[in-house]
Symmetry: C2
Subunit: 178 residues, 2 copies
DNA sequence: CGTCCGCTTGACTCAGATCAAACTTGGTGG
DNA sequence: CCACCAAGTTTGATCTGAGTCAAGCGGACG
């Protein structure tokens, strides 16, 4: 079987494959960081647990990317990682991974580009959350992400930081107009 | 004079120095991106102009860093850059800069690390802005940044997305307690 | 000495949170 | 095939945190 392998994947090619089931944690906040983790398939959410059950999704990692790249340079994780689907991942000792990276500037550049893009995405999120009125937030979110086809509106409400009830009200209001 | 020069600075060493005065723009939103820009001294704010005069500060660049690293991989700028103090910077054609980077993995790793750190900072900001109550936001901000010594509270209000009046009220309330 | 800015407080208002009750849909299991 | 349950959606009633407007204070600085 011929397989196109990203440059990043090559660095993990010899590492054993680990499988994680939906709902299981890959790591927890404050765990010491030992490995670089590559997401082979599936999807993993980076989640911060706020006071009392409330939870905030910081990021959803997709296949072919590093999990929590930000944590490559920290001593401990800043959030929890929870599998959203059954996933497969590979681990390499962090120091070994960093050493390997030094030999592959192109991969390093890809990672830098990915992180830069993520910075922009987060800044866009900040811009939305700083708006005071709900209609503005919704407009901004729609301009950025287009109309949600599969995604339920409750998730949109979560993303823009308003209650589902308030969002549905606004949607009803818009339906009555244009 | 002996000078410690970061690896990043070396890549700009031969570029001419440009000076920018306080309040002047280095680039505007939607300008095509031609150069990589290195901030030699001073400080430059990345600002997004919202509807009608309102403005949101996305980031403040410090000396020794790239300006708008995120934009190295985009076609046009996503925000304005305004000098907050008199500054000095150096420009190198973007493609030439990227080529130069490929030869210096250590620098590239530094940039990646910087971007990763910035991602974490933005995520922390998102976490704060998603809180509904003002006291929670203030607590979170204080836990992250400690008590502000020089910075006026109006800026803190701006950072956590509340009106100065509301923040001063909360501060007064706390003074009356512990 | 006047003016700007950070700070402080009061009064009023309102957008949106919260609580709550239904209704629709799809899936699951008896 | 139907009873049942969970999730998404809809909408009403009520409450409240914080935004807005406004007026006033003190210190810094040209």
């Amino acid at each position: 079987m011929i397989r196109i392998m990203s440059k990043l994947a090559v660095l993990f090619a010899h590492a054993p494959l680990t499988r994680v089931r939906t709902g299981q944690a890959v790591f927890h906040r404050d765990d010491p960081i030992r490995d670089a983790i590559f997401l082979e398939s599936g999807s993993i959410a980076l989640v911060r647990t706020l006071s009392e059950g409330e939870t905030l999704t910081l990021h959803v990692a997709r296949p072919g990317t590093l999990l929590a790249e930000a944590s490559l340079f920290a001593a401990r994780y800043h959030c929890d990682a929870i599998a959203r689907t059954d996933t497969a991942l590979r681990r390499v000792a962090r120091s070994a991974f960093l050493d390997g990276l030094s030999g592959t500037p192109a991969t390093l550049l890809d990672l830098f580009a990915g992180a830069a893009k993520e910075v922009q995405a987060q800044r866009a999120r900040v811009e939305i959350l700083r708006m005071k009125r709900l209609p503005d937030r919704l407009d901004a979110w729609l301009a950025l992400n287009g109309a949600p086809d599969d995604q339920p509106w409750t998730e949109v409400a979560e993303a823009i930081g308003v209650s589902p009830a308030a969002l549905y009200r606004e949607l009803a209001k818009r339906r009555k107009a244009g």
